[in-house]
Symmetry: C3
Subunit: 184 residues, 3 copies
């Protein structure tokens, strides 16, 4: 099973973590990936409260111990004081990809003006790409549809496991000159 | 009058501050709010030169002493050396809302290519949202039309006073599940 | 020749710098500027590997010694570990213009979803504007077409030499009130 790509799914929510609310983020992430990806993948997941140290620790575990090339988070990206997912992501990651966040917010704005309030980031930790997504299942779908076409090539560039997508759901774009192991 | 929401208006301009130029930013902000808002609100305003310490001090006063849940600035967001409003805003605020700034610049770009030069930010200081706007009255209107629909819900989320808008001018969007005091 | 504006062109590429690959970035930048600009300009250029200290040093030389009001870089803006052009640019510059980067990525996204992976920045070092561009000639053209209309006015505002463009190729926008030496 060594070659099966691992994908990390992290729900950030005080209420889901306490069990007082049925998390809807992880099922939405899982369903989207099952539709969009071709071939096996292994899920590593967690639910944590809106506490920065616990989010950071879960992200480090998913990236470093579980070997996830892609980690998707759901929840905790808004302006409320308890929303700290972007801060936790920045704290464990080395470099940001502002274009992925801009692209997700622009996609959200086509549906609802409050998408402008999302503070979500996408950032790289070594050979892992972490992408913050909203908590709402519909917004998750809109966001993933907008940015996932760029994600497999990003994973290639940072040395993570190769993902293949079903073009009926999501056409992953890889530049033609990148078909071998050349990177730029 | 305790329940009347306070809104801070801050003009940043060397010339307006020195009285050698009639500020047009504050009147444009005031006129837009008077058209868009339903119900009473109380204005707290100031005009300061393009000096970072004075801008910071005015922002702190409007947020902390005047209790403004929303503070709108006008001017000082361009690339010129004296333009320091974004730096002052960042210095007094805890977290940025990059989506509001992106959304305002995208709206400006539909009218003029130099909107890409705006360095404006939106950021939260405790229970206050600070939004930088340009100095030009026409650009102020374009920017507010683009982002104001998201602002009342943002104020709800950070614990500021509730604003109601006139849907003929601006439809404030609040997610249905947010109609009580639940936040996420 | 004192009055001829100087423009810096910097190719960042391990392979082009080692001579194992014919750089295509500088010729694309040069060709675009020759089409778009009216009047003489002087080129100062360099090719460096993807090493942050060498990029920083080249940027400082182009800005400070060559007196370039505008410096365009090509290459090194992606998510791969060797891509460090944005980090080098930030390290030598004082303030960023996020709107120019957002505008270039949005233009790229109209052609290819992986434009969202570009980490390019635009930033000011004293009286010089540094703009990161991708390595691909087609993407360079798309990016310059998107942001160049705002660049001459930006150079005016920071005190760099005036550029004039050919409106058949690129209409530089200067607000009417800015026709004299007034800046805001």
């Amino acid at each position: 099973m060594k070659d099966v790509p691992a994908i990390g799914l992290l729900a950030v929510s005080d209420r889901a973590s306490a069990g007082t609310y049925q998390d809807r983020g992880l099922p939405a992430l899982r369903a989207w990936l099952n539709r969009a990806l071709v071939g096996d993948w292994r899920e590593a997941s967690a639910i944590v409260p809106d506490e920065q140290p616990q989010i950071e620790s879960a992200l480090r575990r998913l990236c470093d111990e579980e070997g996830c090339g892609l980690v998707l988070t759901t929840g905790g990206t808004g302006p409320a004081p308890r929303d700290v997912t972007p801060e936790a992501t920045r704290a464990v990651a080395g470099r940001e990809l502002p274009g992925l966040a801009e692209c997700m917010r622009a996609a959200g704005l086509r549906h609802t003006p409050t998408a402008a309030l999302a503070r979500q980031v996408a950032a790289i930790r070594n050979q892992s790409l972490i992408v913050n997504l909203p908590g709402n299942p519909k917004a998750i779908d809109e966001n993933l549809a907008a940015v996932f076409p760029a994600i497999p090539y990003c994973l290639d560039l940072i040395g993570a496991a190769r993902l293949e997508t079903d073009p009926k759901v999501c056409t992953a774009f890889r530049p033609r000159h990148a078909s071998t192991n050349r990177q730029r």
